[in-house]
């Protein structure tokens, strides 16, 4: 049988069996509406309550601080709009980083057209913001600081506790998009002292289309979706019971196994990094130390990322790239440009993201098939020819 290696776990994950098993009864026998008062409905209500407790417990939050959403993007959109509505009197200024996910970045760009002012903090070559620049950027009229906990493309982990402290010392609300962090590294909302935090189930082996927004107790945030009054009137619509149950089961499992998983996953990641950096004109993207356990992200000069991804796919390996040609636009990813890569270098990006479902055999296989692919693409690249001629 042809080998298949899934190494795009920052894109999405295969669901864990635990999550699937937890969900199935709510897709079959227990289909009651949680708002119904008869026993079948109460069964669904109890499942929601239990899921909320599990998710709260995984984040060191209280159950009433967890609001279920239709995913990470919705949580990010809600958090931003809620902060602006709640803090409207204070001002119209928002501070963020230049490496946010589009769920935050595009939301803020739309707000800029509506009279809000946004400061995009630059990042260094590792993808880290400067805390002193943050301190200077937060003004009296800043209502929200929203900065991601870990970056999806380069794996950099940002110092959220310090960022939150600075934001709040100036009276701004603090939100973090923790979609890439939750379930992978410890996330303690009390220790971070975040006002709001977004998460998405499918990044930690839960189902797609479900997520949550943590909102610190005391912040009476405005409703995002109006209707039947679900989620204490804040996010109406009949709850995705099975999805929520699956999310809670996946997160509970991820947190229980986190210490062991981090060791196992980091080992695989480090082997990928160590071996692939032996390829000439390759470099790691993102912070070499403060880095998500599963993210091995690179640029390989003189080749183009989409061609790499297609070639890996032909060998049964799923990976991704931030190259322009992998997207609808002709610009490479804003994250790769923000860390200072030139356009032509950013085009050669490759992201391999592993999780606990991967094995050392998978790493062997990737290390076996990837270097010849890079050689093949370089052999047909006029840029590589130029580079070699200059060297000779």
């Amino acid at each position: 049988m042809a080998k298949f290696v899934y190494a795009d776990n920052a894109g999405t994950t295969a669901m864990s069996k635990t999550a699937l098993d937890a969900m199935l009864p709510y897709l079959t026998d227990y289909y009651g509406n949680p708002s119904s008062i008869y026993s079948l409905g109460r069964k669904s209500r109890a499942a929601l309550d239990s899921a909320r407790e599990k998710i709260a417990s995984a984040l060191n939050a209280r159950p009433e601080e967890i609001f279920f959403t239709g995913g990470g993007t919705e949580a990010d959109n809600w958090a931003i709009h809620a902060a602006l509505e709640k803090m409207g009197k204070k001002g119209k200024h928002i501070v963020t980083s230049s490496i946010e996910h589009h769920a935050v970045g595009h939301t803020l760009a739309a707000l800029e057209k509506n009279g809000y002012e946004v400061t995009y903090l630059p990042v260094d070559g590792n993808g880290q913001i400067s805390l002193s620049e943050l301190e200077n950027a937060v003004r009296d009229d800043t209502v929200l600081v929203t900065i991601m906990m870990a970056n999806n493309e380069i794996g950099t982990i940002l110092p959220i506790a310090e960022i939150a402290r600075i934001a709040k010392s100036k009276g701004a609300l603090f939100h973090t998009d923790a979609v890439q962090a939750v379930g992978h590294i410890p996330v303690d909302v009390r220790a971070l002292d975040a006002d709001m935090l977004s998460l998405a189930a499918h990044k930690f082996r839960g189902p797609k289309g479900v997520g949550a927004l943590f909102v610190k107790k005391g912040h009476a945030i405005p409703a995002f979706i109006l209707g039947g009054g679900q989620e204490r009137g804040r996010r109406s619509g009949t709850e995705n019971v099975a999805g929520i149950v699956g999310m809670a089961a996946a997160l509970e499992e991820a947190v229980q196994n986190m210490d062991g998983n981090i060791v196992k996953i980091t080992k695989m990641r480090d082997r990928l990094i160590k071996e692939l950096l032996k390829i000439p004109y390759s470099r790691l993207t993102g912070d070499p130390v403060n880095r998500l356990p599963g993210t091995a992200s690179f640029v390989f000069e003189c080749i183009e990322g989409e061609a790499l991804v297609l070639s890996l796919d032909a060998k049964g390996v799923c990976a991704s790239s931030g190259s322009a040609c992998s997207s609808a636009s002709l610009d490479p990813s804003h994250v790769l440009l923000a860390i200072g890569l030139k356009h032509e270098v950013a085009h050669g990006s490759l992201r391999l993201t592993v999780n606990e479902a991967n094995t050392e055999d998978d790493i062997d296989y990737i290390l076996d098939v990837l270097p010849p692919i890079i050689s093949r693409l370089r052999d047909m690249s006029p840029l590589w020819e130029e580079k070699m001629n200059v060297r000779a």
Partner: protein, 142 residues
Amino acid sequence: MYSDKVMDHFSNPRNVGELPDANAVGQVGNPKCGDIMKIYMRIEDDVIKDISFKTFGCGAAIATSSMATELVKGKTIKEALAMTNKAVIEALEGLPPAKIHCSVLAEQGIKSAIADYYKRQGIDPEPIVGCVCDCDHCHTAQ
């Protein structure tokens, strides 16, 4: 998102590599845009006897280069100059809208090599070949 034909020409590109006895070489695109095509030709008696390419770019850039070289191989200069990006797209059984510019680049690459052929003989190529633009396709041909 790619047709089987595109995947075939990406995975098994035809006429790839340098052509040692080329008497015409053209290069179009730029690294900032993420695609560069270099076309090598050996032209005899106004016929493209042999052709090859090197491309830095995505799957579609490689496939359009491969297909364009196939379409003009053995053809006269006149026939090669008549080859449009649409012919490349049709031969590849379609391209996604975001990749149309790759076919434009392939057409330009062929023209650029033929322009070089004339330049080497001291003939101004522009009246024959027309303007071989550089990277405008990135921003106009979407």
